[in-house]
Symmetry: C2
Subunit: 278 residues, 2 copies
Amino acid sequence: MSAMKGATTKTVNVGGTSFAYREVGAVGGIPLVLLHHVTAMLDDWDPAVVDGLAAERHLILVDLRGVGASGGTTPDTFEAMAEDAVAFVEALGLGTVDLLGYSLGGIVAQLIAQTHPGLVRRIVFAATTPAGAKGPASTGAVLQAAAQRAASEGKHPKNFLFFEPTPASQEAADSFLHRLEERTEDRDTPVTDETIAAQLTALASWEQDASPAGLKNLNHPALVVNGDNDAMWPTTGTLELAQALPNAKLAIYPDSGHGAIFQYHDLFVQQTLEFLRG
Amino acid sequence: MSAMKGATTKTVNVGGTSFAYREVGAVGGIPLVLLHHVTAMLDDWDPAVVDGLAAERHLILVDLRGVGASGGTTPDTFEAMAEDAVAFVEALGLGTVDLLGYSLGGIVAQLIAQTHPGLVRRIVFAATTPAGAKGPASTGAVLQAAAQRAASEGKHPKNFLFFEPTPASQEAADSFLHRLEERTEDRDTPVTDETIAAQLTALASWEQDASPAGLKNLNHPALVVNGDNDAMWPTTGTLELAQALPNAKLAIYPDSGHGAIFQYHDLFVQQTLEFLRG
C-alpha cells in the first residue's frame, strides 16, 4: 500500500478552527508542506508524487480554511489564505518548512514567502503564475467549459484541464485519475461551491494585480515547474515567475500542461528531491 | 550504417557559387531543408536526428555561402543568408519546402518565411529567438568562454554550450558528441574564423533589432522547440517567438539547453514528424 493511501487524516486547532491534514513520510528534517490547487482537497494529490517525495521527505498535506474537511469559510484573498497557512504551520509547532505550491497553492506560497520569509527554506512552484500574468481570472470559465466537455465526452474535467490532447498526455491523464481513486477509505470531503467561488474571486484579483514587483525580494531558492502547453494558466506566466525570482531554476516538461508534475511524476520527484537536498 | 553517415556530399551552382549539400531519406513529398547553427557545417547535424527524420522525410542539409565546403564569403546579415538559402532551394528546382532552422538557422528560416512565404509550407524553429530577444549578441563571448573552459577541463565546448551541467544532460552530451564522430570519410570542411565573425556580426544586429513585429504575418504552421534552461539564448526568447507567431506550437524539454533537440532526439523526431504530417 502506498504511504499516501494509508495516511491518517488528522486535525489541528488553528485559532479556533479545525484544519484537516495528513502526514506522509518519516518525520525528520525540514517538512515539505503541500499547498493545494483550486477546487482541490487532500485526495487530489497524486499518490505517485506524494509517495515519491515521501521516500526522502516528511510531507504535510493540508486543507486550507473552508476546504475539504477543514472548518471555517474559505477567504477570497490570497493574503488571508497565506495567513491561514502560516497559522497552520505554527499550530503544528514547526519552525521552518519547505513549500510545494501547486497552481493556486503556488500563489499562496508566494505570499507566505514574502510575508514570512524566515518561516520558509526552499519553494517548489508548480503550474503557477506571478501577479498580473494571464490565466487565473479565466479559471472559472475554463472550469465550466471543461466540466461541460467532460460530461459530453464521458471524461473527467482534469483530462482537459491538466493534460494535453495528445495520446501520450491523455494516457498519462487516465493513469493519474486512476491513482487518485486508489484510496477508498477515509476520503476527504469535496469542496463546496462556496469555497470555489471564494477561490475564483481571489484568482481574479491576482490577475488584475499590477505586477509581480515584490518577487524581486523573494530570495529563497525556488524550483519553477510546468508543462510546455499549460491550457489553464499559460506557460509564459511560469517563465515570468522564474525570471522575476532572483534565485529560481526552471523545469519545463514536454507535451504536457497544467498537470505536468503528475504526467512526469518520476522526473518531477527526482528533480524536486535533488532541489530540496540543495 | 546510418543514412546520415553514408550521405554523399554534393554541390550545386547557386548564381556562380558552389553550395555543398547532402540529401538523406527517400526523395518524395515536400523536402525538409535543414539550416545550420553558428560555427556549424554539415557534420554538425546529429545523425540521430537526421536518420530519425529521414525515416519519413526527404532531408536536404546545406552549407550556406562561405560555410564548410561551400564557396563564397559568408555574409554578415540574415537578409543575405536568407536570400542565399532561397537561391539554393531554387537552384535545386524545388517549389515548396519545409524548414528546420536550428539556432542561427532558425533566424534564417524566419527571414525566408517572411520574404518568400509561398516557398515554405511548415517550419520547425529549434533553439532560436525573435529579433530583439536576449542572447544572440553575446554569442561570441559565450563561445570564447566555452572554448576556454573546454580546454581546461578536457571537454568539448558543446558540453557547455548545448547541454546542462546535470549528470543526465552531460551524459547526453557525450553521446551526441560521439555520434558526430561516426562519419569518418568525406567529412565536411570546418568553418573559418572569417565565417564565424560574419555570423556573429549578423547575430549582434539581430539582438539590436527593435522588435519581432513582422512575425505576426508569419502564418505558417510552426513548431517551436527548445530546452528549459538554454544557456546561450535564454528560453524566454523561445517563448517570445512562439507567442509572436500566429500559428505556433511550443515544445520545451526538461533538464536541457540549446541542444535539447539532440538530448531528446527521439522525442524531437517524433514530435517533428507528427508536426510535418500535419
